[in-house]
Each structure stands twice: as C-alpha cells, then as structure tokens.
Symmetry: C2
Subunit: 353 residues, 2 copies
C-alpha cells in the first residue's frame, strides 16, 4: 500500500476554478492527511488562494500554466489549443509520468475524456472508455456505467463494462464477486435491442470469475440496489443519471414547499429537523459527485462542473479511494482473470454480427 | 363535443385483471358521469364483479370472451392466439369499429402495441408508434415521448414525435404553441448522436406552426419543466421514466425512515401530516399512470400492469381527456398544418443520410 496518495488537480477546471478547487482540496486533506497535491493552474490566481489555505499549501506543489480549457469548448478545440500546456492536460500528464496517482478535474467532460484518451491511452483489451458513477440506492450504493463516455455499445463493449464495473465494485464495496445487471427496457421483441440481448446471452453463458451476472434490470432497479453494478451504453446511462438527479431535486423542492405551508408543518419540521437533515444528506448529490473514467492507463476523476467545495472534495475522495484500493491493478486483474471468458464472449459477439 | 365518451376496457389486462379494472371504472365514472363503458372479458369472472358495482353496471356493457393475453407473452405469441378474440384485441377493435372512442388496457405493453398497430394501423405520415407519458414537474406537467414503443429513432421520426407530442400538449395543457426540447447528453462531438443533432438542426431551422423548438435538454430538465414536450427515442425515454419512478420511490423510502427515527421526528410528522399528505400526492406515481399510444388511427391508453384501482382510474381519466379534447383530430391537424415544414425536414433528413 502506498505511503502517500499523490493527486493531480486541474485547478482551473469547473465553473468556479481555483475558488472551489483549493478549499475542496483542503477539505479532503483534513479527511485524508496522507494526500499530496500537485496543482496545475495560473500562479496569479492560485498562489494567493494557496496562501489563504496554509494547511493545503504545506502539502501542495503548484505548477504554473496560463492555459485553461473553457467549459464550452469542443474536445477538438480543447485538444488544439490545450494539448501539452493546459492545466487539464498537465494534470493528466502527471498521471502518465507517474508523478501523480490520479488526476481530478471539474473541467469540460468531452475535453477531459479526449485528452485522457490521447495522453493515457486505452488499457489493453479495452477499445472505448467509460465513465462510472457511484449511485446511492436503498441498500447502499451501486456503480452505474457508462454514464456518458461513449454513445452506443456493441455486445463486446457491454461485456468489458461489466468486467471494469465489477473491478470498481470490488475496490469500493469490498465484495468478492459483485452482481451485475444489464439495463434494458421491459418490452420484448422490439427491434434495436439486439446488442443488449446478445450481451445478455453471452454474460449468462460465460464463465466469469469476477462477477455474477444477474440478468436484465430496468430503470427502477437502479435505486432499489438490485445489483452492485449496472451496465448500459453512455447515452441512456447519462440520461438515467441526470434524470435521477433532477427527480431528487424536484422532490426536494416539493418537500421544502410542503414543510413551509402551514405553521403546524413548520413546527413539525423544527421537531423533525435532525431527521430531515439525515434525509438531505442521503439526497445530497454532492456526496456522490465524481465520475470515474475507466478503461484508461491511469485513473481520472471527473467532478461536476458546477460542484461546490464539498462536492469537489467528494470527487477528490473518490480518487483517493481508487488509488488506495488499487483500482487499476484490480481492473487489469479482472480483465486478465476473465480474459478467457471475455475473449470467448467477444468471439461469439463477433460471430453473431 | 360528443355527448358520451365511450371507453372500451380490456377487463382481463394487468396483474390483477377485473378485480382492479372494475372498481377503477366505477371510480372514474364518479368523476366523469358521461362515460359509457364496454367491458371485454370472461363473463364468469366479470359478471359477479359487475353485480357488486351497480353504478358501473348501469353504464356498462359486457362483451364475453374467454381469451386473455398473458402478461409475459411475446407480442408474436399474443397475436397468434389472441387476434380476433382476446379481450385486448376486442377492446382495440371496438375503437376501430367506432363502437368506442378509446381503449384502455393494463395488459402486456408489447402485445398491446403489436395488436394496436395491426388493427388500427398507423396514421398517414407516421411510420412508427410512440408512447407518451405525462410527467409531473416543478412547474406542472410535461409530456415525454417516446417512453418505449420504438427503439432508436432517425431525425424524421424525432420530428414526428415533436409534432405529435405538441398536439397532445395542446389537448392536455391548453397551450397554443407548446415548447419542445430534444433530450440529449451534454457531451459534444461524441459519435452516435448524429440523428439527435440532425433532428435538432432541422427543428431549429423548420418553420413549425404548432410548436416552438427550444433546443437540446438534458435528463434533469424533465423534472424542472424546462419544456412542455420532451422528445427522445424509446430506449432512453423508457429508462428515464423508470429511473425517475425508482428515484421517487427511493426518496419516499428514505423519508419514511427519517420520520420514524426519533420521537421528535414522529411528533413532527404528526404535526406536518397534511403537508406530508400533499407531498405524497405529488409523488404518487398512480396519479400520472397511463401511457398514450400516439401515431395510430385511434386512441389507446396503456396502464401500468401493476396499477391498483386508483392508478387504473387515472389511466381511464387520461383516455377520457384525450377523447373529450379531441386528441386524434388535433394530431392530424398538427401534422397537416406543419406538413410543409415536416416534409421539408424529412426530405432534408433523407438527403443527409
């Protein structure tokens, strides 16, 4: 187990840049004193903030760059002007050069993914990256992937997602053999689900050592915690994630409306305040902020662009856990241990095309 | 405006069949005394229940059949043994023969859709059916389609969905020119979104008279009520719908846990009971039960298979509204009024392929 966890931060990423990133880093440091940070960003902005956070300053090194990726740039634009020199690129490059164990950025997702692919390259046996999200459920937490890295997925990619997602589940939940469900809709015989059905057949028939395939699950199974890992392609996965976040906010809005409606309700709220606080904690999307990029030769965590310090700190914590419990090695092991089953499944998928 | 609204009910559909369908019909009748029902089902089971609901009996006609579609049959199986004679088919056939204005069933979605297509046929200018859901939002309600009738959609189909969804919005929300958003994910330049982007361009450039295209929306915009209509293909739409339902149930579960945790919380709950009741009403998925099949020559409403009487009554009410406010004619008008714009868009979509 490493002595220190070295975290590279894109200090300029996100809607608020260093004003959020630095307080978040300090917050995370109080929870994990064994972190060392490398901050990439504009000295003129970052240094004064660093001076204001002496605890962080003691554990952080600043690498100066004036180039920052804008939130609304297309990946190709970002690559054009930001490669080699932007704070985002340099954070990823620190992982590539083994100066850091993980990179965390709240910057533009498309740009971060494009740079990560370009710089870190895909792991052996994986062709397309994925973003995995930690999803709070009634039973605890599940991992949902892909939530937006790649649109569409053939059966072979869905099988890789199952293997990578279960490696992450082993890291985070400490389960020997996580359960995996394949996200589907309940209608039979509808054209267009061939890849999903094919992946289902291959997963059911394959002799996978590192996860237990449970079968198809539907959208409402995610929150129930029906399986530890839910596999889907990135378009539907992203829409599921955003829709769940939106629904939680919507109900929070109703709840606030309800408890301020009458004096009885307000009094009731005061009495039940602690309970409501616990509820708010459970519903707090900041607590599960941080998408993990999977399939790359390096660990990269993407925070929500609009995250506040608490939210960005969750993303840093997520990166910390991934390094501490050796995500990359576990994914490689999974892919290796199950290579036989995966190769067989891939071959069958190819044959069925 | 018609004198009577004639509703054909598949009395055998759903997980509970007539035991739910009949009480639901009576419930809906108390709200809409101008309904007349035709019930299709097994006399041996339905007649005793009808005797137990005299108010309903006075407004209902029973058509006997012993054939009922099972909930887990594939559409092709259901068509094979259930065409011409099952309660589901006969309810649809009543619409086809103008004996009823709308058919409502809680039966197997795939079978209902297959039979509806086979019997009622598609409207002119529409190639594939859609299921529209009424989605509660912070601002009121929106219409989301397609939530599971067709997987995948080319740009032309997405444009049809926009036109049909806005006709439904005009019927239900009484708005002249509903706003339409196209569901998308926030990542630029990802392969596989071509149809969605193309539809976006065509919708932006087209001169549509009956709706206002607002642009791309993401999953969390649905609950915000950003637009009156949200357009997406059926796989992502179904997953969004189920995920939102699951999230609402999950938060309901947390809430119940929170308010029973301490005596203060329980007392607070008692005081705020009315507020909680209002909240529960808002979160009650039964209140917005009922998917509307769009694109067919006839109105068909699909209730959740597991709906209780209150839920199934909502589906009947939905059917009632669709007839009362003349959904079919409004869809035809929309498609006709915007035919020029749609044809131009379709041609452009074809040219771009």
């Amino acid at each position: 187990m490493p002595d220190k966890i070295r975290i590279a931060l894109d200090a300029m990423g996100g809607d608020h840049g260093p004003a959020i990133v630095l307080p978040a880093a300090e917050l995370s440091l109080t929870r994990h004193p064994d972190i060392e940070f490398i901050l990439f960003g504009d000295r003129a902005v970052v240094e004064p903030l660093l001076d204001a956070h002496p605890k962080l300053k003691a554990k952080a090194q600043l690498v100066h760059t004036t180039v920052a990726i804008r939130m609304d740039d297309k990946p190709s634009q970002a690559l054009r002007y930001g490669r080699w020199k932007s704070s985002m690129w340099l954070a990823l490059d620190a992982v590539k050069k083994h100066d850091a164990d993980v990179a965390v950025s709240a910057g533009n997702t498309g740009a971060l993914m494009a740079m990560a692919r370009f710089n870190l390259k895909m792991m052996e046996g994986v062709e397309r990256p994925a973003i995995a999200a930690l999803w709070p459920t009634i039973k605890g937490e599940s991992i949902v992937l892909d939530v937006g890295a790649s649109i569409g997925a053939d059966a072979a990619h869905l099988i890789n997602l199952a293997a990578m997602g279960s490696a992450m589940a082993r890291v985070l939940f400490d389960i020997e053999k996580p359960t995996v469900g394949l996200l589907n809709i309940g209608v039979e015989e509808v054209k267009g689900l061939e890849e999903v059905r094919e992946a289902g057949t291959l997963l059911r028939e394959g002799a996978f050592l590192d996860f237990e395939y449970v079968g198809f699950v539907e959208g409402d199974d995610i929150g129930k915690g029906t399986t530890d890992v839910i596999v889907t392609e990135g378009f539907a996965g992203n829409i599921a994630l955003k829709t769940a976040e939106g629904t939680a906010r919507q109900i929070g809005h109703y709840l606030r409306g309800a408890i301020s409606r009458t004096w009885q309700a307000r009094l009731g709220y005061l009495l039940a305040r602690e309970a409501f606080q616990a509820l708010r904690d459970k519903m707090d999307p900041r607590k599960s902020n941080g998408g993990v990029f999977l399939g790359l030769n390096g660990i990269v965590i993407k925070s929500h662009g609009g995250a506040d310090a608490e939210g960005f700190a969750s993303a840093i914590d997520m990166g910390y856990d991934m390094v501490r419990y050796d995500l990359l090695a576990k994914i490689s092991q999974s892919l290796a241990r199950d290579r036989q089953a995966i190769t067989t499944a891939h071959a069958a998928a190819g044959a069925a095309l």
